[in-house]
């Protein structure tokens, strides 16, 4: 006791405690002040860029470096958040009329619910005609309306990786760049027979695999031209019968495969379809042994899923003009190639990937481009507007796979039962259909 009196100016324990609490509480409290002002604060005069992309810290740092090098119009405070925060931030700021963010970037599905909160960008799009956006991609930016709501930023999709060893079993007359679903089945069957009964095809049907996207964006659109509306049509039955046959000659261990690049690189399978980001490591060690090819075609065309990200400006953005300059800078060939090289998202502009890119990415870029330029392409989008129900809708497609291909149940019966469940979810949500289903109507299985 005497000590503390004698100490005079010494800080008491209580004061220290208070100080400590304050130090802990200050950042926590200031975080409530709005997402855009914290995290990546570039100081005054900087443009706040809210995004759902590049949330992993390495990706974010690489993208910030690109921003620093390619954007000269303004300092950009890049703030990647998950889509829940993204939604609530845009909604609350725009609806309250107190907008702090000037630029938002997200997948088509992230931006679509906010069409009314985004500025029309027709004037900006008019100045960007030289970029050579693919018409399909650019058209998505209207979000179903008549004016441009977002400018394409970057894209990803799913393609097939093929080990050249598998080419010897390719059916005669088949062009690996222009396969049909029937040829794929023939190939997989011949491959298994030629490989001593060991299947050469793999499928990402593991717990974290993206195989539901194959049904949603590839198999069903190629056979039926739709995703949800045609879910239980006669063509869909045909598609699932096909899937059953393909599964019979696919590696059974596929139910453990999450990222196809791993079994491909290990040589367990030779051919596989997956997301570009999940195939990119397969050809890393010996790129000359690999080719990447577009997805196959079905009776209705080449169905493929386009994962497209766009940039938009919220209504009432404080730095709208600077934001437009940033969009211009990020859609230049150089910036697009930088993003491809650093973060493996593909350009949306018409640009030839330079020779200096890593070979695996060059292989993929060619396949992505071929897929996009196919004249009979049927584009699908990842489900739009489902929010937290995306997992449940995807599960319906996984259930179909399990019951039809693994349990061997009758196709029509399974589809009817799953359609009922799908409609139960969709009736609750009441969202409009997304591509390839006709837009406008409330989405439902017919």
């Amino acid at each position: 006791m005497t000590n503390s009196i004698a100490g005079g100016p010494r800080i008491s324990r209580r004061a220290l405690l208070g100080l400590g609490l304050g130090a802990v509480a200050a950042p926590a409290l200031s975080a409530c002040g709005g997402v855009s002002t914290t995290g990546a604060d570039g100081g005054s005069g900087s443009v706040a860029f809210l995004s759902t992309q590049f949330t992993p810290v390495e990706e974010r740092q690489r993208f910030e470096k690109i921003l620093g090098e390619r954007v000269s119009a303004a300092k950009v405070a890049y703030n990647p958040v998950d889509s829940g925060v993204f939604n609530s931030t845009i909604t609350s700021q725009v609806d309250a009329g107190k907008v702090q963010i000037s630029l938002v970037g997200g997948l088509h599905g992230d931006l679509a619910p906010h069409a009314d909160r985004l500025m029309d960008l027709d004037d900006l799009a008019g100045t960007l005609t030289d970029r050579g956006f693919a018409p399909d991609v650019a058209g998505l930016g209207k979000l179903g309306g008549s004016t441009v709501k977002y400018v394409p930023w970057m894209q990803a999709t799913y393609v097939m990786a093929v080990n050249k060893k598998a080419l010897e079993w390719l059916p005669s007359g088949a062009d690996p760049q222009k396969l049909t679903y029937d040829q794929v089945l023939e190939w997989a069957t011949a491959g298994r027979a030629g490989n001593g009964g060991k299947p050469i095809f793999g499928f990402p049907a593991g717990p974290k695999g993206l195989y539901h996207r194959f049904f949603q964006g590839y198999l069903l659109p190629s056979f039926t031209g739709g995703q949800i509306t045609t879910f239980r049509s006669a063509e869909a039955v045909q598609a699932w019968e096909y899937m059953k046959e393909l599964w019979a000659v696919t590696a059974p261990a596929s139910t453990n495969y999450d990222f196809m690049q791993e079994p491909l690189a290990r040589g367990e399978v030779l051919v596989a379809w997956d997301h570009v980001a999940r195939l990119v490591s397969a050809p890393k060690d010996n790129p000359d042994d690999w080719i990447m090819v577009p997805a196959p075609r079905g009776p209705k065309g080449l169905g493929y899923m386009l994962v497209v990200a766009g940039m938009a400006i919220p209504r009432g953005a404080p730095e709208a003009e600077k934001a437009k300059e940033i969009i211009k800078a990020l859609t230049t060939d150089e910036a697009q190639i930088d993003v491809l090289r650093e973060n493996a998202f593909f350009p949306v502009v018409d640009v030839t990937p330079p020779e200096t890119l890593p070979p695996a990415i060059r292989l993929e870029a060619a396949a992505v481009q071929a897929q996009q330029n196919a004249d009979d392409a049927v584009i699908s989008l990842p489900p739009v507007g489902l929010g937290a129900k995306d997992g449940e809708v995807s599960q319906i497609f996984k259930n179909c796979f399990k019951e039809i291909c693994i349990d061997g149940r009758p196709v029509q019966q399974v589809l009817d039962a799953q359609a009922q469940q799908l409609n139960a979810i969709l009736d609750e949500l009441k969202v409009g259909c997304w591509q390839p289903d006709p837009a406008g109507q409330t989405c439902r299985v017919l």
Partner: protein, 287 residues
């Protein structure tokens, strides 16, 4: 004032004593349970059976139910047979019986998930078991493939047997220690065989311990999750695993709550069933 004092102090004393546990139970047990039940039966537009319908219609629900019950029916008798045999062996006090006891109880100290991962490293396609088979010149076998449901079930059964038998053992050993040796000695003096002594002397006195172990084990077996999850994932669906899946991956807490209620209902029915089944009906029973 003076007259009210005794009345005032008579009521609060017991209330004060049970107060903390009452608050505890309300906040941490009753309230979440009410919320859980409400979650399973209410949607945006008030009361609904929609989520129960979703649960029942789901492709994984009935297999999960079947697997859970099958696991209990096969696992519990096996565990009791093993645990009883082990406990009786320990009772005979062989050499190093202390060491045996510690080794047998070891799994109790290991987390479910860790145990599941250990067994996964044994049974997985390129795991220890297949390596041994390969060394012996035998064909490796896909133990955990969805194509081999029997081996899938057996691996989960073995892992659970290994992991959870020790709990039964500990309870039975404790129960055995509480039985006075006199009865057993008297029986052997009168010429009862070992089996007769086991059947008519030891087991009846072990009844309370067995009852406790049975209820505990069945409820815990209903909650089997981490081991099966690690070994088989959704290839071998179990009820609690489905709860986790619906809550976590499908982000539908309502259906998850409905499945959890099914687990609760089965637990309660089996617990009551055991209590009635194992009630001591002999005339000399204390209660």
């Amino acid at each position: 004032m003076a007259r009210r004092r005794p009345g005032r102090s008579r009521l609060p004393a017991p209330l004060l004593l049970i107060g903390p546990s009452l608050v505890f139970m309300t906040v941490l047990f009753a309230w979440p349970m009410v919320v859980g039940v409400a979650q399973a039966f209410t949607g945006d537009q008030g009361a609904t059976l929609r989520y129960v319908q979703r649960m029942v219609d789901d492709a994984y629900f009935w297999p999960a139910m079947r697997n859970t019950l099958l696991l209990i029916v096969v696992l519990i008798p096996l565990q009791f047979a093993f645990a009883l045999a082990m406990a009786l062996m320990l009772r005979a006090r062989p050499r190093f019986h202390g060491v045996y006891f510690y080794i047998w109880v070891l799994p109790l100290a290991i987390s479910d998930l860790a145990a599941g991962l250990v067994w996964l490293s044994i049974f997985t396609d390129r795991g220890y078991l297949n390596s041994v088979l390969h060394m012996l010149g035998l064909q490796p076998y896909a133990w955990l493939s969805y194509q081999n449901p029997t081996s899938l079930f057996l691996t989960v059964l073995i892992a659970e047997l290994w992991r959870a038998t020790s709990l039964v053992l500990v309870i039975i050993v404790a129960g055995l220690q509480g039985i006075p040796k006199d009865y057993d000695e008297v029986a052997s003096v009168f010429g009862a065989t070992y089996w007769q002594r086991l059947r008519y002397v030891i087991l009846p006195q072990l009844r309370p311990s067995l009852q406790v172990a049975m209820i505990l084990r069945t409820i815990l077996a209903l909650q089997t999750f981490a081991v099966a999850q690690a070994l088989a994932g959704r290839n071998f669906p179990l009820l609690v695993g489905e709860t986790y899946y619906w809550y976590n991956f499908l982000q539908n807490p309502n259906v998850a709550a409905a499945i959890a209620l099914v687990v609760l209902a089965i637990s309660m029915v089996t617990a009551v069933g055991y209590l009635r089944l194992l009630r001591d009906r002999s005339p000399g029973a204390a209660r």
